[in-house]
Symmetry: C2
Subunit: 140 residues, 2 copies
Amino acid sequence: MPNREATLATIQRELTAFARRARSKAARVHPKLSLVTYSMLDHMVETGGCRATDLACHFMLDKSTVSRQTATLERLGLMVRETDPDDHRGQILRPSEEGLRLLRDAHEQRRATYEQRLAGWADDDLERLAGYLQRYNSEG
Amino acid sequence: MPNREATLATIQRELTAFARRARSKAARVHPKLSLVTYSMLDHMVETGGCRATDLACHFMLDKSTVSRQTATLERLGLMVRETDPDDHRGQILRPSEEGLRLLRDAHEQRRATYEQRLAGWADDDLERLAGYLQRYNSEG
DNA sequence: CGGCAGAAGTTGTAGCATGCAACTGAAGAG
DNA sequence: CTCTTCAGTTGCATGCTACAACTTCTGCCG
């Protein structure tokens, strides 16, 4: 049985390896979208439409960066904006129909990738892993 | 008991969240080093001195990118290079004394971060998580 | 009411990482 | 010897990011 030090080192190493792979492989979940713009579109759906400031806060990015990324999304026809009726300074950002389609495709693609990768796993192992990851992310 | 679909979705979501956090938080593991340059120095140690081509292959980067990063490391006094005696085209890259010191600091810093984050975990939970992560990374 | 602080976004500027392509120098095959 | 291939560097372009200055609008306080 390995000691705690070694186990911690393994977890650290494996999570780092995962992060590196995620950045390089899943960096382009769609030809037109980077991981960040994809996540932004996703966040607009999850929140039911949000403002640029929300995105900046949630992803810890400068508002100028968000402004440029949303401009790109709009130029690609993947996002629409409407002035917030309650506060004319802000805008409500939502995916367009095409943006929603693209998001669904990307979701399905990623789901299939994970399903294939975890195909050989037993159900209870999957559930334990899911629980561990939730616990890890919620702490700290 | 959740179904397999839901469990897979959870794993996917949590790993994505982890990757996003890793990008923003662990982006700078040391004031002078980015995650990439840090990993490069680390790889030089693990391999006992390697060539730029090895780094490019291992990290899936263009050789020009590696060339510039190693130039930066050398300019910072963290790395030294010597012409490969067996092949005068290549160079053997190694951390300098200061590079090794800095690497040890960074290692310790990261180890402490993980230890703190996982402080409340039972040993067998840690070992199971480590095993799951190894299995996940080794497959696919 | 009128002015002023603060918030939401945009744009100018700069820095950094990265990739592709063209180039230099060296090793190895014929 | 010559030609090809490999290791590495450099020029150029691109994309993401931050900081700062500016615009427009809101909300508050005198």
